[in-house]
Amino acid sequence: MVPSVKWSPAKTANEAVEIKERRVARLKRSNRWVWLGLVPFLLMVLMFQFIPIVSMLTGSLKPAEGAGISFGFYERILKSAYYLQAIKNSLLISAASSAIGIAVGLVCAYAVTRFPFKTRDRLLMLSNMTSNFAGVPLAFAYIILLGSNGVFTLLFKQWGLDIFGGFDLYSWSGLVLVYVYFQVPLALLLLYPSFYGIRDQWREAASLLGASRWQFWATIGVPVLSPAVFGTLGILFANAMGAYATAYALVGGNYNLLAVRIGSLVSGDVVNQPQLGNALAIILALSTLLAVFLNHLMTKRSQLLHTASPAKPVRRSRRMPVPRSVGAKEEL
């Protein structure tokens, strides 16, 4: 059906109305098609994304028995040393692993931009590849390496250095170490584009004006990068807070982590207090949402800094995006 528009002028008022009605009808028909395409999608998103969240929210606000709104579960959590410990542990481990991850990732991102594009892409690909290993295999690999009979533990003992003797893989520091393994590639991937935003001409202008390398980075480079860095920090933090597989495989229930606690409360061998798990999950989600929101704010600011240039005809890159890391996120 050709969407034709007849330009012959309406001969009578009736004809004019008729033409209008036909146009409206055609529009309605095409709109119907539009909505048809969307319905299954909206349905799925509703069923498997929104309803669970709403259900969680309402569930956590219910009292243990009966109806009405009550913050009882939240109260219990905030009064319980045990759960507060879990929250604290998770926050600390996420903060530490994110900080280390971003520091290492930043330096590596700077280094990676110095290579020609092909080499850079290969390095990034390698880095992304290894993130497929995250989760259960990763935990196990670290047990092999740094467990009580781990390769490095034994090696260093042979050499007389007992540093890994005192090191406990199944403790706070062990977890941070293992978390860093998947934080660094993520930081690298998210940060390296920002270095291309540091224009060569800024460096040249700065050097002509008398700035040394360090002065340039201190006064221009780092300030321009910081929104991206803070934004990535947010993502890293959310990533660590939500990490489950690695922690579960490494320490199981032996170390008090929020994500693992939630898991055991809601669906373990002994399912005892799902409502509590609900509330804890909401608390976890709050922390990750906050972190992601921080990332959103920082991204906007970063874009602001990078629009200071004359409108050069940007060669519309017709490349398909290199498939984002197969599982750059720690786990899903």
Partner: protein
């Protein structure tokens, strides 16, 4: 005036190609010299070498008789304005202008005074606290200029500073730059591919091609007396003729030149037979092939004795433009015929 900046035997290679080939240039203090040429002729590379942003493979750069080639950019006391402005996005306009002084440890009060002085010169005093992103292209370029001048450089380099701007802004800014340059008596090198810019701005023009300076002189000299065919073609709509073609229009030619040039505006068109024919000019018959109106000029494409010529006539409203296919008489002045040298002579 003695020589302020001298380039001696500048050489630069990029792999196997020679980007700059034995460039020699002498610039006096306070002069504005333009490096003009097509893309890839090496003019920007030469500028970057002078600034220290690119290495030389041979030659010396003498600033006040001191060779600055071994010095890093920050020690050369040279300022540069880029085509893309290169303003620091995280600093305000004022902070951008003060940047150089800050790096050199100038006291805050002095910095403030100097930046205000310069912002007044470029007429952007009210934008001191704005960020570069909120300024127009022309304004950003003026800030870039103020920033470079704030540290009192010995030489100012401008790398196609107007190319990214609209035509009207370009014309205004061009005049401003020239005014500021003269006011500060700043030795300046200006790079552009636009010959009109070069002619209006400069004290001297250096036309470059393939890494060499092909001709150098005042705008007047370069425009009215191009030495080679390349220069003639670059500097306007010169008619370039081969020897046989020139012989068709003129009887007997001296010298051994193989190509000749004649300016479109130096040929007079006579229409009717009523006019007394000028005695000192050579008269040739021709036919008008095409007419185009370029505003103040009417451009005719004329076929005279088998030679295709472009002739410009002033559109002063006194005479109507001649029609296509009408016969016309051309009054050629042999003194206006330029004998061109071969390239690389």
């Amino acid at each position: 005036m003695s020589v302020y900046l001298e380039l001696q035997g500048i050489r630069k290679r990029f792999g196997h190609t020679s980007v700059l080939d034995d460039v020699n240039l002498q610039i006096r203090e306070g002069e504005l010299v333009t490096l003009l040429g097509p893309s890839g002729c090496g003019k920007s590379t030469l500028l970057r070498c002078i600034a220290g942003l690119a290495d030389l493979d041979g030659g010396q750069i003498l600033l006040e008789r001191r060779d600055i080639a071994p010095l890093p950019p920050r020690s050369r006391e040279i300022g540069m304005v880029f085509q893309s402005y290169a303003l620091f996005p995280n600093l305000t306009v004022g902070e951008n202008v003060e940047y150089g002084m800050k790096m050199r440890g100038v006291a805050k009060a002095d910095r403030r005074r100097r930046s205000e002085e310069l912002l007044a010169v470029v007429e952007l005093t009210d934008k001191r606290d704005a960020y570069p992103q909120h300024l127009s292209g022309g304004q950003q370029q003026r800030v870039a200029l103020a920033r470079s001048l704030a540290v009192r450089p010995k030489v100012l380099l401008l790398d196609e500073p107007l190319s990214a701007l609209d035509a009207q802004i370009r014309k205004n800014l061009r005049a401003e730059i020239r005014a500021i340059q003269q006011r500060f008596n700043m030795t300046t090198i200006f790079v552009t591919h636009d010959q009109e810019e070069a002619l209006t701005l400069s004290d001297r023009v250096c036309l470059m091609n393939k890494g060499r300076i092909v001709q150098e002189g005042t705008p007047e000299q370069i425009y009215t007396r191009p030495r080679t065919e390349f220069v003639a073609r670059f500097m306007g709509s010169y008619n370039v003729l081969t020897r046989p073609e020139a012989l068709k229009l003129f009887d007997g030619l001296e010298g051994s030149a193989d190509s000749f040039a004649i300016r479109p505006e130096s040929v007079v068109l006579l229409s009717g037979s009523a006019q007394p024919l000028p005695a000192d000019k050579r008269i040739v018959e021709g036919t008008i092939c095409a007419v185009s109106l370029l505003g103040s000029i009417i451009r005719y494409a004329i076929d005279a004795a088998g030679v295709r010529l472009t002739i410009d006539a002033l559109n002063d409203g006194r005479s109507l433009p001649l029609a296509e296919r009408s016969p016309v008489l051309l009054a050629l002045d042999e003194s206006q015929l330029l004998h061109l040298e071969k390239e690389g002579a």
